[in-house]
Amino acid sequence: MTAATVSPNTQTGTARPWLTAAIVWALLLTVPFWLPMLGGYTALAARVLVFGLAAMSFNLLLGFTGVMSFGHAAYFGLGAYGAGLTLKYIAASTPLAILAGILLGGLAGTLFGLFIVRRRGVYFAMVTVAFGQIAFYVAYSWDSLTGGYDGLRGFSRAPLHLGPLTLDIVNNDKIFYYFLLAVFAIATGLQGLLLASPFGRTLLAIRENERRARFLGIPVERHIWMSFSISCCFTALAGALYALLNNFADPMGLHYSLSGEIVIMAVMGGMRAFWGPLAGAALFVILQDTISSMTVNWMSFVGLIFVLVVLFFPRGMLGIFQKGTGK
């Protein structure tokens, strides 16, 4: 947890990274106490955590490497299917399911990354979205294994055994929330460490000026490839958690429209801020939840969020606290 607070914000302009981190963790740790009072429910907070993790993992690329993937739903969905298939066919073990999810999504990302890393700009986005649809297509057509259009059902997360202690994450929402939060803490802690490491600094250098980084002898393609793979692993972890949350994995979780939603979460929250995507995910998930309960035309409103953010709010919620180079 402390690791996450060693965020790269010092390099990107936020005045008080420790303060931001303290506020974020104070809010996250106390969610089950104050959320019901505001009319929310714990599962909603769990969804915020999962999509927050996905958006932060995606932002390793967009915000901190400077390349734009529009196919991250594929790795999110593969993580979900990896976890679901493991629980259904192999063993009723939650840690094993998570591991399988990370492996499936991470390996696919690492492999696809080989084809993708040479592209830049919109072409990077275009190739990532096309590669992402391969995963969607496979899950959609491989009926016998994945349940096809209807999605993968018939699995359930299993209780956690920590030595003599058994955590009932199956029936108790709050315990499950704290389990998710612990995984989230480890993942974002690792991300913080990564960005603070020489490797992370190199990624920032590539983002700021690719040509100069290349002249300094940095193997740019290899760094982008590694960043892509790492980002896919974390996104797959988020997907695996999503499958555990819903006890369900569906092909729409792989579809490129979800990729777009992950991108808007990161941008809406502030892609240059470490916690920005989490803030964006919170706002997006809550808005989507509220709007879809009020109108069947929620798609228009989601689209409107996209348009309004792009036109009037391009630096995002945490971006307005930052000085520097919003384009």
């Binding site: 986005a125 979205v129 496979v138 991108v263 228009s300």
Partner: protein, 289 residues
Amino acid sequence: MLQLVLFNVTNGLIIGAFYVLMALGLSLILNLSNVINFAHGNFLALGGYIAFVLTPFIGFWGALLVSPILTAVFGFLIERVLIRRVYARDPVYSLLLTFGLAFIMQDACRYIWGPNGLPMTIPDGLAAPISPDLFFITWYRIFMVAIVIGAVAGLFAFLRYTRVGIRIRAGTLDLDTVAALGVNVGMLRSFNFAVGSLLAGLAGVLAAGQIGLNPNMGDDLLMPSFIAIIVGGVGSLTGTLLGGLLIGVAGALTTVFWPAASEAVIYVIMLLVLIVRPRGLLGEEGMMT
């Protein structure tokens, strides 16, 4: 067996023709404005619905002519009001903008015309098969292919011989220089966007006559169109044309032998092309990087 193969090749050509119309429009916009129009499939649907509304008044032939033009006008306005605002910014914003636009347009079509499919009436002469033996080939299918060939030829002639077309091609290569020569680049991009929308609208009318209308009728065409552009090579319209036909026919032929893989094959083609020739079939070196 011969009939089956013939049936699927015809199908492939027609599907390929739709890929080509979509992908050429996308490609035009991408090349000149560096924008991927995620809403392009929704422009197609809009073209179809406009034709559906107009047909009772001006007939199928009138709608075929007027609907693409109205779609182009709509595209022109969208570009003027929304898309031009983000040209100077990081490309992520233009993607998000067209993405949001796709959501809104799809929902709007659903709201106005309902979520269920609607039939589109085409003239009786076109609905008839060309002969009893070839009962699966209607005149409409021949007609579609002819129209697409005409539209593509028209587009290439426009880009080759008209002043605006030449400026569009020049702008694709070096927009700054074109601007320095005194061309109104903003208007050029708007017009170019309108041409792309026109092609989508035309595809929409033709598709409506074949498969009817529904709010997400363009969605299934979007991803193959991306792949047609990647396979053909970014920056080359001829490449896009070739890519669209290639994946259309390959998909249809695969249907004959292994129906389940008919969609997978276009992704396999993309992978192979990216391995063997990363810039795409006719792409120029360095365009995609």
